[in-house]
Amino acid sequence: MKRATSLRISVSGVRGVVGESLTPQLASKFAQAFGTYLGRGSVIVGQDSRKSGTMVKKAVISGLLSVGCQPVEIGISPIPSIQVLAKESRSIGAIAVTASHNPKEWNGLKFITKEGLYLNYHQVDEFLDIYHQGEFSLVDVEKYKTPQFKEDSTEPHMTKLMSYFNVGLIGQKKFRVAIDCTNGAGAVLAPRYLKELGCEPVLLNCVPDGSFAHHPEPLPENIIGLCRTVVENRADVGFVQDADADRLAVVNEKGEPLGEELTLALASKYILSQNPGSVVINLSTSRAIDDIAKEFNVPVIRTKIGEINVVEHILSQEEKPAIGGEGNGGVILQDIHPCRDSFAAMGLILEYMAESGKTISELQDGIPRYYMIKDKIQGTQEKAYSIIRQLRKKYAGQGEISLLDGLKILFTDYWVHIRPSNTEPVIRLIIEAKSRDAAEKTVEFWRKEMSEAAKWK
């Protein structure tokens, strides 16, 4: 078994472990490559709240300066706010110092274009070529720029949020909202945002110091503290963000976590009731979205895994889609910005509550129930493809097969999705069935099928 390396360079940027692979030298070289790729101009440099953020950020600024770019330092900022700012300002791009939901030992860089989007596959190829070739456009001193600082980096994002939502309607309800920012980047905006929506925020882990109070991924097992806070404070709803504030999970007024798949389901149901249109989601997102789309008679467009894939499909539709996103709690509302945005997700859910006059648990009841299990087995990409080849032959004609990203087979009462991970040497196995029981049994069955298929050759 290969040891999992602590450096990952992929379509979603660079990630590494501080003190091992993520050195100042590495960060600076990536910044030089990005500056070389963009050409000279101002580049926004933001960060999540990780303790290693300053070290990595300074390396990035140094790298940008050396290739003649003007770094605009904005400090700790949610990633959707950085993306909106990149689009609304005159910058030629942005670098976010973040490792998203990875544990605190990690940090990384995400690269954002002047449109406020992550690099797509072609752009990543070009950019990584520059990095690997190592020929950066270093400039003479005469072309050096002075680094700048910008306060209020969240303002353009905030303005868009405030003009999109019906603040009057939400405000009337005076919701009490428990918010857990995981001491991540969301903490710089979430409390103020909720207040301006007329809610009464109850704060949990809202100090952006990177001391992640729990694993910074919004999974039910990580948010027990929030569940308790909701009950103790009789809150109407609880929200938890991941460390860079693009994903959101919800806790109902009884203190029960809904599961991250429900975030997009609730948001979609509300949006479609107001403004029907297509829904763009990735292959692994819950079938609940298909059911909701059927209710409103709108199409669902499925894409490969990876946020940029969903975003590119949203932008390439002839008719503007109503909503998009990922089942992991990533809601994409193009009218605010084509990126995963936990603030947009909060706004949609609060407005849904206000508009419908229902509690979260009542709204939850209106969403078709499924049970999803995300499992993985050890194995390389090569092994994954061999398994997929075998299973595809075996199941030909037995269900609706998609080969868009690995192998997905849709049966009448459940679906299975097998694909190699982009970031780890594992093969992912995702199952969604109508009950927990069924899901668990199905996972067992498919684990066996996979190990059988691995033996064939």
């Binding site: 990780r50 300074k58 001193v141």
Partner: protein, 449 residues
């Protein structure tokens, strides 16, 4: 040919060619590893490339677990003084001294506030070449603390050292040109603390140098013309990190930076007799002054690091170079432009004499300095070859070659900072000094091609 000079006390090169973030980070990582993840000070001059090196240095130092006290834009002598105050293990000064804007450099300073000595420097270089740097895990990364109230502390200490009362009473009018370098604006604090009236030129810390940041007569025209208009008592020029100065007399005469050391020695050795350290390229004026005070003179290779090491080893009372850098260990063992300006003001005040009168008391020599480009691959052999001009005369080879006679001397050596050969001659007559230089220049200009 890309220019990079790695010396015992740091690394210097041209920004965008050799001075790039990775190189700066590798050196800072080596220094941080050498310091064993302890406390370190960082400051820089005003060069426009400064922020690139500064951010790279901070990032690298914290990655090795060093706690950084960031002094921002700060003259090297003040960084050196603050090392001891903060009980730091070392410091990095980001400055290329008198070099023009396209250069920058890291200078490494030890816990005594002096440039790294040979042994320390070699240890850092070994770590650099080995490339094995301490990599702190996330919980052991260094922290960065911004320090901004150190100027008053430093200048109070300087005021206590000098005869501040005499200076204040004299109500001097002083023109200072910090060349928009690290001394810019800080000279305002200096003047307030010492109680003289300041007329500043090029006093913006914006990193654009209006002339080469080297304190010498050809750069002193601006100071001289302002001085005459406002009727000032003295004018000073600083290099970009305020470690060295030259001065302009009240009559507008722009004096060679060679006068700085003998002028101060003549006064200071009266009260504090002892060993004086200088380099082989400095004017004979200091020899005569030291002899007059019965003080031994020790000559070393050119460079602050060598002078200061010798000063410490010999337990000397002062060290200085003809380039205008003076160190007085009673205050601190570092070339300090503020100390130097303060002492000149003190001499004027205590002895109640004009600058031109003080200069007239010094033996007059004429020094001519030239330099010529030479490819680094043959620079040492060319210098050595020049010996042949003086076939039958004794040659001192401790720093390049130096030949002396009763009227003067000639010194041919490689620059420590650029691929240049320096030719310096001194004589009682200006023409003779010029002739000495031309003889060598004619000889080696053929060889360097």
């Amino acid at each position: 040919m890309k220019l990079l000079k790695i010396g015992i006390s740091g690394v210097r090169g041209i920004v965008g060619e050799t001075i790039i973030p990775e190189l700066v980070m590798d050196f800072a990582c080596a220094f941080g590893t050498y310091l064993d993840s302890k406390k370190v000070l960082v400051g820089r001059d005003t060069r426009i490339s400064g922020p690139m090196l500064h951010e790279a240095t901070l990032s690298a130092l914290v990655s090795t677990g060093c706690t950084v006290l960031d002094l921002g834009i700060c003259p090297t002598p003040i960084i050196q003084y603050m090392v001891k105050h903060f009980k730091a293990k070392g410091a990095v000064s980001i400055t290329a001294g008198h070099n023009d804007l396209k250069w920058n450099a890291l200078t490494f300073i030890n816990q005594d506030g002096t440039y790294l000595n040979m042994f320390q420097g070699e240890e850092v270089l070994d770590i650099y070449h080995l490339g094995k740097f301490t990599k702190a895990s996330v919980d052991h990364l260094g922290k960065i603390e911004l320090i901004d109230d150190y100027l008053n502390f430093y200048f109070k200490k300087l005021r206590n050292f000098l005869n501040a009362e005499a200076i204040k009473k004299a109500k001097f009018k002083v023109v200072i040109d910090p060349c928009n370098g690290a001394g810019a604006k800080i000279i305002d604090v200096f003047s307030q603390q010492m109680g003289f009236e300041l007329i500043a030129v090029n006093n913006e810390p914006n990193g654009y140098f209006p002339h080469d940041p080297e304190p010498r007569p050809r750069n002193a025209q601006e100071v001289a013309s302002v001085l005459k208009v406002v009727n000032a008592d003295v004018g000073f020029l600083l290099n970009s990190d305020a470690s060295r100065i030259s001065f302009v007399a009240e009559n507008g005469e722009t004096l060679s930076e060679e006068f700085t050391l003998p002028l101060i020695a003549k006064y200071y050795l009266d009260k504090n007799p002892g060993i004086v350290v200088t380099n082989h390229s400095s004017s004979r004026m200091i020899e005569e002054v030291a002899r007059g005070k019965n003080c031994p003179l020790v000559k070393v290779k050119v460079g602050q690091s060598y002078s200061i090491q010798s000063l410490i080893n010999e337990d000397g009372v002062m060290a200085g170079e003809g380039s205008g850098g003076i160190a007085i260990p009673e205050f601190q063992s570092a070339f300090d432009g503020f100390l130097t300006m303060g002492l000149i003001l003190e001499i004027m005040a205590v002895r109640k004499k004009k600058v031109s009168e003080l200069v007239d008391e010094l033996p007059r020599y004429h020094i001519i300095k030239e330099k010529i480009y030479c490819p680094p691959t043959k620079i040492h052999s060319v210098v050595n070859e020049a010996k042949n001009i003086y076939a039958d005369r004794p040659v001192d080879t401790s720093d390049g070659i130096k030949i002396e006679d009763k009227d003067g001397w000639i010194h041919v050596r490689t620059s420590a900072t650029e691929p240049m050969i320096r030719v310096i001659a001194e004589d009682r007559s200006k023409e003779k000094a010029r002739e000495r230089v031309e003889e060598v220049m004619n000889f080696i200009s053929v060889l360097v091609k």
